[in-house]
Symmetry: C2
Subunit: 163 residues, 2 copies
Amino acid sequence: MLFYLEGIHTVGVDRVIADAGVAKATFYHHFKSKEELVVAYLATEYERQRELFSAVPGDGVERIETILAKLAEVSVGPGFRGCPFLNAAAEFADPDHPVRHLVDDYRAWYRDLMRDILVAAGRSDVDQKADLLLLVRDGIAVAGGLGDKAAVEAGVRTALAGL
Amino acid sequence: MLFYLEGIHTVGVDRVIADAGVAKATFYHHFKSKEELVVAYLATEYERQRELFSAVPGDGVERIETILAKLAEVSVGPGFRGCPFLNAAAEFADPDHPVRHLVDDYRAWYRDLMRDILVAAGRSDVDQKADLLLLVRDGIAVAGGLGDKAAVEAGVRTALAGL
DNA sequence: CTTACAGTAGACAGATCTGTCTGGTACCGT
DNA sequence: ACGGTACCAGACAGATCTGTCTACTGTAAG
């Protein structure tokens, strides 16, 4: 998606419709504004990640390890340009903007997923550990997006050690 | 600065000069383009932070603790909207853009500062620990910018535990 | 067959953005 | 007194952006 690769404000509607091979009127028939498309883009990404994560096998800490490994792999891979949600948040300053609400939802979902896994595994201090896993996730996404492989690996090590 | 509070692409030159109480011609007399102002803004922020950090007292790990505490305090404080460098990187997709080079420089400087402190304190695994401290810094900035106080505190705890 | 709908290309309006230019004013060193 | 420099307000050019509109085409259901 162009928004992810180049940034939301830098990509205009004309670019979007040209890329999609669609007429302008058709676009505005499906979305009442560019903002609605942006929200749909993030909502889709949210859903995609939910499915991706639910497909990760394993139990307890082992499952978290697998998730972290996958996260790190993607983050240092080609085409990665940071977390779409964090990038979007940087472009939308108003915390009450729909885009920001989606970002908040996404991060809360990730944190709660981590917490649920820890609870099911009978771990202690699940809240603090979930907060840590969220923060490390953010850090890995940032470092990966900036091409900092060493920091990504440090993040994985730290997260695992923190459990 | 407007760029920090509202985002770089969303703030036009007209807003900047109105805010600065300056005529347009005067602005373009000092900066040959908006991009040059953006670079100057980040360069100034870089310098400001260098001075801020050099003023932090203490030695060794104690100094890092103080830095982290300050970082966490600022990150959950009012007016904080994330790290200006990470926000800028999210808005400039091209890794070879001058803005991105400044972001890389800033993060490398922070990492090396952490490493130098660890070396002076005679610690082991200084590289890995410096990478960790950088990643946690990124995470704290992101979490703070999104109003996630719990994650900020988890970051501080983790960084200290990792030393 | 006809009606309704979804699609096409692209012109257009109106706003906004970057950057230039005009014309005039104030200060400052020589 | 004078030339240079920096400043001002604001018009302007040209590009680009979002969103609307016109006019036409294909298709599927009743």
